[in-house]
């Protein structure tokens, strides 16, 4: 039994739960495999027969449009049967209930679960519980991880910027509550990006963030200076009610990405956002819709990356 619950004894990927702890070679293999699936999405028939006859259950305990839809499209383009379940969080407050749901769906001959849950560790719990032939993909758990988002961001960076070893990447915004940021930081450092920065007010940074191998900035102009890639995080409106931030307007003034602030980055820097965007809060429309934005290609590449992950898991 391998120490990492995501890996088989031979080092191949059995589940995708977090990028943390995955070797660089495996991340590169996922990205290379995804390149092959980009070509599939250009075919006249945008479908390959790899997962014919497999049943993939999208278990979404939290609302999602982009992630759920791209997982669904990815599974369908692999010829799998996709079953979408949107389960209200209220009916799923106990761990036993979650595993009961999983057992019932397993009895319906599920081959893979794609899980989103507000509770950190939910996908791990399911992965530990399921039979050996069933695979689990974490589509976002609490504040913990969102590995396919991290991977599609790496894929987008590689597509636009080439190799990782000479890049400077800045992640801006609510790192504290962001599972996306954690997955991105793990991926960027594993892939050998020499300089990863986070830019945020102190109240939106987790304690000990510097131990993840990032440089911390509180000032946008200083943090964005000379970067190749700017990743803007969504400011979650529900966080506004607390004492962490004065107001969306004030947040925008200091941390919203405007053309003026973006001018501090390299002239050919790309701007990314995992969506959904709050225009006028964390990002100015002129930037979101501007020539440096690769926000929509991120969504498109998300399909190829999820196809790569699902086909690799199903074959291992």
């Amino acid at each position: 039994m391998s120490e990492n619950p995501q890996l088989n004894a031979d080092g191949s990927l059995r589940h995708l739960l977090t990028i943390d702890g995955l070797p660089r070679s495996l991340l590169m293999k996922i990205l290379d495999t995804a390149e092959g699936f980009v070509a599939v999405n250009d075919q006249e028939v945008r479908k390959v027969p790899l997962l014919r006859g497999k049943a993939i259950f999208n278990l979404f305990f939290e609302p999602s449009t982009r992630t759920r839809t791209t997982f669904e499209i990815a599974a369908k383009r692999l010829s799998a049967d996709v079953i979408n379940l949107n389960i209200g969080a209220s009916s799923q407050s106990k761990g036993e209930t979650l595993l009961d749901t999983v057992d019932n769906l397993s009895a319906m001959q599920a081959d893979m679960f794609v899980v989103r849950h507000a509770q950190s560790g939910a996908a791990h719990m399911i992965a530990r519980h399921v039979a050996p032939h069933i695979h689990v993909v974490n589509a976002g758990d609490g504040r913990h991880a969102h590995p396919t988002q991290g991977l599609l961001d790496m894929f987008t960076i590689r597509r636009f910027k080439g190799e990782f070893h000479h890049l400077c990447v800045a992640i801006v915004g609510d790192v504290l509550h962001s599972r996306v940021a954690r997955s991105q930081i793990h991926a960027l450092t594993t892939l050998g990006v020499p300089e990863v920065r986070v830019i945020a007010p102190k109240t939106l940074l987790p304690v000990g963030i510097a131990q993840m191998g990032v440089q911390v900035f509180h000032d946008m102009e200083a943090g964005l200076k000379g970067v190749d890639v700017v990743i803007i995080l969504r400011l979650q409106n529900e966080r506004m009610r607390g004492a962490r931030l004065p107001s969306p307007q004030e947040y925008f003034r200091y941390y919203g990405l405007t053309p003026q602030k973006l001018a501090c980055a390299k002239p050919d820097a790309i701007v990314m956002h995992p969506g959904p965007m709050n225009r006028g809060v964390e990002i100015d429309s002129a930037v979101a819709d501007g020539s440096q934005s690769v926000i929509l290609p991120q969504v498109t590449y998300g399909i190829a990356v999820r196809m790569a992950v699902m086909s690799m898991l199903a074959g291992n």
Binding site: S12, E35, V38, A39, V40, Q43, V45, P49, G315
Partner: protein
Amino acid sequence: MTLPDPDVLIHQLADRIRPSLSAETVLVGMHTGGLWAAECMHPLLDAGMPHGSLDISFYRDDFEEKGLHDQIRPTHLPFEVEGRDILLVDDVLYTGRSVRAAMNALFDYGRPSRIRLAVLIDRLGDRQLPIAADYIGAGLRVPSGKHIHLVRAADGELQLKLVDVE
């Protein structure tokens, strides 16, 4: 066992294929050995002919046993497949399963008017599907437990190799 020189086979194949080319013919090499052979054949046939590469990993029939192929290379077909006369090139025709997968893959890009198959080596007596090549460099009987394939040196020189099946 002495193996033929792939360069000689490629020249012989090109000489036989050349009279049959039309304006609709395109060259498609199957990753990886077939692509190397097609790249060598291309200037010998018609340097202006459209050509591309095909990776069959997503169409293989052994996914259940072996999983996804270890190395996926993007398929690159920079032309319309619909209505074209496709000359498919592979290094070795063995069970016929790769060619079956290649034809399925091509049809997901469009409906070709014709597909012809050219191979450097036809491994005789080991076919598992009703598939035959239109152009054959050489027919060989290879002992079971052996695998024959094309390798390319750093200087681009091609060589056929016989290796033990793992």
